[in-house]
């Protein structure tokens, strides 16, 4: 085990998989010579060269398509979007092509590709650089969607994503790249996709959080314990699709209360989906209506005070827990 940042854990996963499989290569804007816009690919071009670490022009639709074609022809591309906001330019290739190819070809051509990059807000990058895309992409059969919140999860899940035989969308979070955690250095360490993780055990209320909101939920849980003697369980689905609803439902059946915290607009969000499924599978166990904390229904503003007001926070999550606990 070694302590490392999420950034370095992702870097280690990429490096190990490049070494493990000659068909794995990385492609994207600034991933090679510049070492990556967020330094996730730092050092890889120097170590592996132009063949395995490919700088692309600013041409998101184009290089996403090259990735899809290369994957159909037997390679395992890891395509970096400098942010997921730019993936909208490539959505045709992700949704119409990568997600559909295995089905449309009658099982002849699968697309083992990873699209990855930071999702959600950063610090004052405003409306066109602060959006969360998990609900959008998770709506389409054929895609898998992964969102790690710790360094260990980042490494183990990215390795699984690269080894997966399907298109996997790997959504990181820019403000979390520097978060540190203990990570296995075993090159065979992986975390299976589709498996939730209980980040903190508790008995009075469940919070389902992912990515950006996981550290917030853990902090809120501490506050609830120390100030209100409320025991909060924090469940991180880690994979949005396929969703491990069983772990979430089991937690709700134990605590009878649910708060969902997400860095995403509320309308038709992943939280809305989880809320529906909990209603379907654990309706009789709920002692209070499910409460959601989401990004407000407005484009992200530039001003820092407004950005903070728009996003989920520890305070908002604490307030939601108190509400479902009738405190």
């Amino acid at each position: 085990m070694a302590e490392m940042t999420i950034r370095d854990a992702l870097n280690a996963a990429l490096r190990e998989e490049i070494l493990r499989d000659e068909n794995v290569f990385i492609m994207g804007e600034e991933v090679a010579e510049y070492d990556g816009a967020y330094k996730v690919t730092r050092g890889l071009w120097k170590e592996f060269g132009d063949k395995r670490v490919v700088d692309t022009p600013i041409t998101e639709l184009g290089f996403a398509a090259v990735g899809v074609g290369a994957a159909m022809a037997g390679l395992r591309p890891v395509v970096e979007f400098m942010t997921w906001n730019f993936s909208i330019l490539a959505a045709d290739q992700i949704i119409n092509h990568a997600a559909k190819m295995y089905y449309m070809s009658g099982g002849q051509f699968n697309v083992p590709i990873v699209f990855r990059g930071p999702n959600g807000s950063a610090y004052q990058v405003s409306s066109q650089h602060s959006q969360a895309f998990e609900a959008f992409y998770a709506n389409f059969p054929g895609l898998k969607v992964v969102m790690p919140s710790t360094a260990a999860d980042a490494k183990g899940l990215l390795k699984s994503a690269i080894r997966d035989n399907n298109p996997v969308l790997f959504l990181e979070q820019e403000t979390m790249y520097g978060l540190k955690g203990e990570v296995s250095e075993d090159p065979d360490f992986t975390i299976p996709l589709g498996l939730a993780d209980v980040k903190r055990e508790g008995s009075d209320c469940t919070i389902v959080a992912r990515s950006f909101t996981v550290p917030q939920a853990l902090k809120a849980a501490e506050i609830m314990q120390s100030e209100f003697d409320v025991s909060v369980e924090v469940v991180d689905p880690r994979t949005i699709k396929p969703l491990d609803i069983e772990t979430i439902v089991a937690s709700v059946k134990k605590t009878n209360r649910l708060v969902i915290a997400e860095e995403s607009h509320a309308f038709a969000s992943v939280g809305a989906e989880i809320s529906h499924q909990v209603m379907e599978f654990a309706f009789d166990y709920l002692d209070a209506p499910i409460k959601r904390i989401s990004t407000v229904e407005a484009p992200m503003p530039y001003a820092r005070n407004l950005e903070i007001a728009a996003l989920p926070s520890v305070e908002k999550i604490v307030a939601a827990i108190k509400e479902v606990c009738y405190l």
């Binding site: 184009g62 090259v66 074609g69 290369a70 037997g74 119409n96 092509h97 449309m104």
Partner: protein
């Protein structure tokens, strides 16, 4: 519309989407060090999509063995090229990417063959891509719901007189390679093959409902 066995990668429903996917296949061919090349087909209307330009730029930049074959049949669905494109010359768009481009008479079978061979050789020699504009024509509508009101029957007739199969037959007869009797046999054989395929399709059962959920995710 896919066949792994024959290296046939579709069969796609988004105009131009396959241009980028084909570029990726050429990328894989180069990556693996094979001497294979990718033949990527599309219509002239796809040239107006961004993916065409993004793909040609990358293919020339990275020297990918991709041959872009634009079948210019003059109409994108019901809109003529003249009403949709600022220039009538597609082959020259290759110049914008420092790529080799060639105009080919699509009604001339041997001209198409020779231009394709030149492009394949170029791709194998130094991985250079090529844009071929093959001028052809579409006799039928874009789809079953196309009444074809955007063109005259005289125009269609004019092109039918230069039908590539007809012209090729004439040249083969002139060269005494085949006789009328040979062509009758070929036609009968081809017709029987198509009839058998139609019969097979008509007589095949609809898929079982379980097929709805097969091949969504690979293991």
């Amino acid at each position: 519309m896919f066949s792994k066995e024959h290296g046939f990668f579709g069969g796609h429903g988004i105009v131009g989407g396959q241009i980028g996917v084909g570029t990726g296949m050429a990328f894989a061919q180069k990556y693996k060090g094979t001497d294979n090349v990718t033949l990527c087909f599309f219509g002239e209307a796809a040239v107006n999509q961004g993916i065409f330009h993004e793909s040609l730029n990358m293919a020339q930049l990275w020297k990918l063995p991709c041959i872009y074959i634009c079948e210019n049949n003059k109409y994108g669905m019901g809109t003529s090229q003249a009403r949709a494109m600022s220039t009538s010359d597609i082959a020259s768009k290759a110049e914008g990417y420092n790529m080799a481009g060639e105009f080919v008479d699509g009604m001339d079978v041997m001209a198409v063959r020779e231009a394709t061979l030149r492009a394949v050789e170029r791709a194998r020699k130094d991985g250079s891509p090529t844009l071929l504009e093959i001028r052809a024509y579409r006799y039928m509508g874009h789809s079953m719901s196309d009444p074809g009101k955007y063109r005259t029957s005289e125009e269609i007739k004019k092109y039918q007189e230069r039908d590539p199969i007809l012209l090729f037959q004439e040249s083969l007869k002139e060269a005494k390679v085949f006789t009328d009797k040979d062509f009758e046999e070929f036609t009968a054989k081809a017709t029987a093959e198509v009839d058998a395929a139609v019969k097979f399709a008509d007589e095949s059962p609809f898929p079982d409902e379980s097929a709805l959920f097969t091949d969504i995710y690979a293991d």
